[in-house]
């Protein structure tokens, strides 16, 4: 196959971007299989004897596994709840006129305008009073306040793009409001719902500030566990990289699964 120079430059540019963004990821994964000497070697070693020592060590000694489980519980619950509560709200905002609609809309946006740290202390005190410190529930509730607006925004926009005629056709076909939501809006809004679910999951998975403030040992999440290595005289890079790899894995898998639904033009062919 002959490539024109334009196509070649295009491919070259794309390759550069991909290498640039994936290199840190590659470095992390490869370092997790290196010995401390290989990691610190200068110039860097590209071919090395892979070792599972780092993984053995963190599974044996640290709380990484428990932390990953905690993160999974919190992120999954938050994502499910955000989508469960956010999509009906988005449907209402997209299709109905009601008193206070624009205020409600602004309230959703303003939730994200606030820097999270501003609320850290009040929320800590609230959690303390409610005896919710160091529980999964407190993180789920806090993450929900940050994730719901995202789900509502993205899904409202997505639902608005569904031609109203389709809903009316369903009404004439005898579908009630809830059936229309379930059979028309959820399947046709899948791309937006998928995107917002990924955002929710990634946010809850990566969140560090509230996880540090609101948890102790029992409900320590993965990002908190990773920072635990950041003490002492020596930085155990191998273990940090192995922990990082384990932390990144579930989000990557989740994103890959969900991205199947992120296709454009789902409503194609409905109307013309």
């Amino acid at each position: 196959m002959r490539l024109s120079s334009g196509t070649f430059l295009h491919a070259l540019g794309l390759t550069a971007v991909v290498v640039f963004s994936l290199f840190p990821f590659f470095w992390m994964v490869s370092a997790s299989f290196k010995s401390q000497t290989d990691i610190l070697a200068s110039p860097p070693v590209w071919f090395f004897m892979p070792t599972l020592d780092n993984y053995r060590a963190i599974f044996a000694e640290s709380q990484v596994v428990g932390a990953v489980v905690n993160s999974l519980i919190v992120a999954t619950a938050t994502t499910l709840l955000s989508v469960l509560l956010g999509t009906p709200a988005a449907y209402a905002l997209a299709r109905f006129e009601f008193r206070g609609k624009s205020d409600l809309w602004f309230w959703f946006i303003s939730n994200r305008m606030l820097s999270p740290i501003v609320l850290a202390l009040p929320i800590y005190l609230l959690a303390l009073q409610l005896r919710l410190l160091d529980t999964h529930l407190v993180l789920i509730l806090v993450y929900l306040t940050f994730n719901l607006p995202i789900v509502v925004w993205i899904c409202t926009d997505q639902f608005k793009s569904i031609p109203p005629d389709i809903e009316q056709a369903a009404r004439l076909d005898g579908a009630d409001q809830f059936t229309i939501f379930r059979k028309i809006y959820l399947p046709l809004g899948a791309p937006g719902i998928a995107v917002s679910a990924i955002f929710s999951f990634i946010f809850s998975w990566n969140e560090l500030l509230y996880a540090l403030v609101l948890t102790r040992r029992a409900v320590q999440t993965a990002p908190v566990a990773a920072t635990n290595f950041m003490s002492g005289y020596e930085l155990p890079w191998g273990k940090i990289m192995a922990t990082g790899t384990i932390i990144v894995l579930p989000v990557t898998i989740f994103a890959l699964i969900v991205s199947r639904h992120m296709v454009r033009g789902l409503t194609m062919g409905a109307t013309k």
Binding site: I166, L172, K183
Partner: protein, 361 residues
Amino acid sequence: MSFLKLENIKKKFGDATVIKGVSLSAEKGEFVVFVGPSGCGKSTLLRMIAGLEDVSEGRLDIDGRDVTYEEPAKREVSMVFQSYALYPHMTVFENMAFGLRMAKIPEAEIKQRVGEAARILQIDVLLDRKPRALSGGQRQRVAIGRSIVRHPKIFLFDEPLSNLDAELRAQMRVEIARLHRNLGATMVYVTHDQIEAMTLADRIVVLRAGLVEQIGSPTELYDRPANIFVAGFIGSPKMNFVSATVLGIEGGAIRIGHPSFVGGSLSASPRIGGPLPKAGDKIIVGLRPEHLTLRSDRPVLTLTLDLMENLGGSTQVYARSGADSVTLLTPGRPAMQPGDSFGAGIDPDHIYLFNEDGAAL
């Protein structure tokens, strides 16, 4: 008793009244067409029958039951949308079965009904496809199929053919007419296309600015339009209007003066009746392009040729009669040059008369 009955129906959006009191009725099995220019309220009226728009005032009966405030699904009507509004994530079969599923019809009957409708519309080979894999005409058939399977009391069509190209539109028009004949169903059809209205309708409702201008059979509207608006709307090319002056009344006929008339005047009888105009009144003379003849022994009008459009078998002639322009549709290809003066004849029975306010005489 009428099958579909609208009594002084009104629709208000805020302060604006878009339907200003419409009353009409349709018999079972009748094909009623709402026609009018865009913005006349014809689609809004149809959507009120469907229940997709609230009725602000008035009363709506279907099959002897007051459904003014009834849910759309309980009115037993079905609608074909201008945009088709198919469910894009469902197959053709699922699209057609959706309403039946909602009505909890047994699966075996759903299969049978969908199959039957698909056969009628010749889409039985497409049942497993998604709408995106269909052509415009096929999508339209699926949309019609979706309304057939539900055996509705009334079929509603909202400009169903306006997204199709001319050839397909003509073909689907014939199919809808055939469907109406075979199902014997009551249909209400909205269009801005007067050809669709003329060819499909048992009865046409001409709407303008939220009011009914006239209701009648296509022939009635063509032969006896109630006013200048209906006269101009029904028929293609549009009726010509020449503003003239009444010279006098002679034994029931009106003598009308205009410089373009051969001899300065012509005589025509009013077809509707009502009060006759007096000498000196303004009067509007309506002449259909297809009624004007070029080769006439007794020409009535003297015209100046402006432009000719050769349509192959016939020619559309654009001419001037003083300040008014006059269009003629004539068979063959007349040999004339722009600027030429020529005479045109018309059967006096084909002359339409309107008073100054536009009401037919």
